[in-house]
């Protein structure tokens, strides 16, 4: 016999009680995180917690930043400040780099940091790190005192203070216990940073919980009892979590900025990356036309950057022909709009180069380029107008993309290039060897200009002049087709301060503190 479990009146009563309970519990939910907990949303988790294999850029750097102090700390204004090293300097001949280490530093397992620990870490990173190029010119690493480490260089390299800061990753010293058991570093931490991972409450790829490192040398810089990074890939879910107080800070997207502003959230932004096309086939091995500088310039003149930026990136993007933004040494006002949108001129350049009927090539789409599909499609449409037929080849992940480029069958790729200093662009894009130079082309002048930069301090007038020379050569040679300079965004509630950031260093959660 079918019968309702409760008579109607009792059912109504039960429903009322349940509703009241839910309403009473709702505030509990929204304030479940105590004031001493900072909860952050990132759009992607790291492959692992080991700084050896960590990626750079946001949000990847947030994870090592919390638990691994770097040898050099780069302040939000871009200046280099003491980290695990209290001071450092190049020798007069610029072929050695001496660092004096902070005394009394302990790793999160309580073991003291010695100069030999730093040496062991740097050797480990030079051999196995994701960005071994930072230490490529280092020929020897040794402890030259109880708290002193000296790096010998085979050739001058002014980039060491960048490689050893919190964005460079090579300076994120791992303790001896971690180095003795490197396979453990994927899911545990062993650093000298302000926090350490709480493995019991961490669910990899979903939620990373950091608690205070009890041995951190400066407790006043530990602004939170606990920092939680939640992985939320969906933009709507991030906004909902911010609006309801479940997270306080999140990676923002330009497409969500208006909604975030309307919801009363604070928005912080700074130029973060250049998006566009990288040409690997400068030698014309796959597509002979690309060897001709006029063809590469034609590809630049054909792009309607303003139109693309207006429709896809709004106020958080700017058209660009350059590789560094204003404020970074190497940027030149005179190069702004060097390639105005001019299809007629592009066609003329193609004809002059012997390709009046255009040509065709395949463009691989790098994953994780902001609005990358739409940007690539717009570029293809622009090139179609001058008779250049481009076929897009999408990729779904870096695990697919990287080996695809390694086949050397594709002449070009879209890219996101995170800004730091101009020498990074020159060294990673147009020299040989270079991180991006997957076809291994050699442009002697680009290499010479990089060598000239390496002989100067980055921030010196001579260093800036050398950077400008490289920038000019790269832009005029059409080595790439830059399209847009995009901003990195942070959305935050009003109860967190210290979120202002600049182009470099990237935003760093160790700077974030409770609002007063």
């Amino acid at each position: 016999m079918f019968a309702p479990v409760l008579p109607p009146r009792r059912g109504i009563l039960a429903a009322s009680v349940a509703t009241a309970a839910l309403l009473l519990l709702a505030p509990v939910l929204s304030t479940a995180a105590a004031a001493a907990t900072l909860t952050v949303a990132a759009t992607a988790g790291p492959t692992g917690l080991d700084p050896t294999t960590s990626s750079n850029g946001v949000p990847s750097v947030w994870f090592p930043n919390l638990s691994y102090a770097a040898l050099i700390w780069r302040a939000p204004d871009g200046t280099a400040k003491p980290g695990l090293a209290t001071d450092w300097k190049y020798s007069d001949d610029r072929l050695s780099f001496v660092m004096n280490l902070r005394s009394g530093v302990k790793f999160s397992d309580g073991s003291p940091m010695t100069a030999q620990d730093v040496v062991n870490w740097l050797k480990h990173y030079k051999e196995k790190g994701s960005f071994t190029a930072w230490l490529a010119n280092v020929s020897d690493i040794s402890a030259t005192g109880p708290l002193q480490v000296t790096l010998k260089l085979s050739t001058a390299d002014p980039m060491l203070p960048y490689g050893l800061d919190q964005g460079g990753m090579a300076g994120d010293v791992v303790g001896p216990a971690g180095l003795a058991k490197p396979e453990s570093l994927g899911s545990t931490t062993n650093g000298a940073g302000p926090y350490m991972i709480d493995t019991a409450n961490t669910i990899l790829n979903s939620q990373y919980v950091y608690v205070k490192n009890p041995y951190y040398w400066d407790p006043s810089a530990q602004h939170w009892d606990k920092v939680v990074i939640k992985i939320i890939s969906d933009g709507n879910s991030i906004l909902s979590a911010l609006k309801t107080g479940q997270v306080q800070v999140a990676e923002g997207a330009a497409t969500e900025a208006d909604a975030a502003e309307a919801a009363g959230l604070k928005i912080y932004s700074a130029p973060s990356a250049m998006l566009g096309m990288y040409i690997g086939d400068i030698d014309g091995k796959i597509v002979p036309a690309l060897k001709d500088v006029r063809v590469r310039q034609a590809l630049n003149y054909a792009i309607d950057r303003k139109g693309i930026v207006t429709s896809l990136y709004g106020k958080y993007g700017r058209p660009t022909d350059q590789f560094v933004p204003e404020g970074i040494g190497g940027y030149l006002k005179s190069l702004e709009d060097f390639y105005p949108y001019d299809p007629a001129k592009a066609k003329q350049l193609l004809a002059d180069a012997g390709f009046p009927n255009g040509f065709q090539f395949t463009l691989v789409e790098q994953p994780a380029v902001s609005s990358g599909d739409l940007m690539a499609q717009a570029m293809v449409a622009n090139w179609q107008d001058i008779g250049v037929n481009v076929t897009l080849k999408p990729t779904d992940s870096f695990a697919t993309y990287v080996p695809l480029m390694g086949t050397q069958k594709y002449p070009a790729t879209t890219l996101t290039f995170n800004y730091s200093v101009q020498l990074t662009d020159t060294q990673q894009l147009v020299t040989k060897p270079a991180l991006y130079n997957y076809m291994g082309y050699l442009d002697q002048k680009a290499n010479d200009l990089a060598s000239a930069q390496r002989k100067q301090d980055i921030a010196s007038p001579e260093g800036t002049a050398a950077a400008e020379a490289s920038e000019t050569y790269m832009v005029q040679g059409g080595f790439l087709t830059p399209v847009v300079s995009v901003d990195a965004l942070l959305f935050a509630s009003k109860d967190v301060d210290g979120l202002q950031f600049t182009t470099y260093p990237w935003s760093d959660p160790t700077n974030w503190k409770p609002a007063k």
Binding site: L22, I231, S233, S237, T244, L404
Partner: protein, 315 residues
Amino acid sequence: MTLLRSLAARIAGSLLLLVVVPAITFFVQGIAPANVAKGVLGLDATDQMIADFNHRLGLDQPIVLRYLHWLGRAVTGDLGASYTNGQAVQLILAPRLGVSLSLIIGALLVFTIVGIVIGVLSATQGRLVGRLLDVVSTVGIAVPNFWLAVILVVAFAVAIPIFPATGYVFFSDSPPLFFLSLVLPVVALAFAGITAVAKQTRDQMLLAIQSPWARTLRANGAAESSIIYKHALRNAAAPVITVIGTIFVGSLSGSVVVENIFVLPGLGSQSLASALQADLPVVQGIAVYFTIIVVVVNVLIDIATTILNPRVREP
């Protein structure tokens, strides 16, 4: 004995499924063009670093040998370790299994109970309710769960803040918050199932109510409520349970989307992250877990159907 024989045959077939599905997953992943070494070590990795990585993980072995090696360990309960963070697959998946089970079992309960109640009411309460159900059924099938999920969050987490917008609270941490954190995800996942179960229940109930044996019972003076709830419902149950099983299996794929939107740390969200990182052991482990869930549910449905259907039960 027929019941036991039938069940034994189904369980044997299910065990075969446990071997076949993970094998397909393994070989499909094996031929995919991803390169896990470069994905993990980065663009700057040297050939030596890649060779060391591949050797350490056995990725330089032929795929058949790798599969046999994996299978040999899997039958002992060892599903290997993540390529990206080195953690044992069982440890990665253990906390996530409970999350996914609470979501999909919650959805199963909701679409079963609510669906059957609505179905019975529409079959017995006249044509208007039946027509209304037809409309709602069409909407239920047409509305994608990711869209419904977003609407639910906007309505019941942001505009009227009753439920959390995202996240999961473990039962051991707080039973009330556990239930609250599951309400919106369960509704989003269960909605299409409710309408499908309701429609199936109504159709089967109507067939039963209008059947010759129901007319005979009425002629013999049986009460209408007895005909409906004792006889018709039992006759309608077997096909409804079969539909519930089908919807449940479909809800496993739906859970991947729902877990991502509500940021639930379940198997679905992990499968997406691991697939993008080409972390094959973890993807493989999730395939094993999902297969076990499907097998268990199929066996339970077979048992229920067999018990309810006299033609299967009797020799």
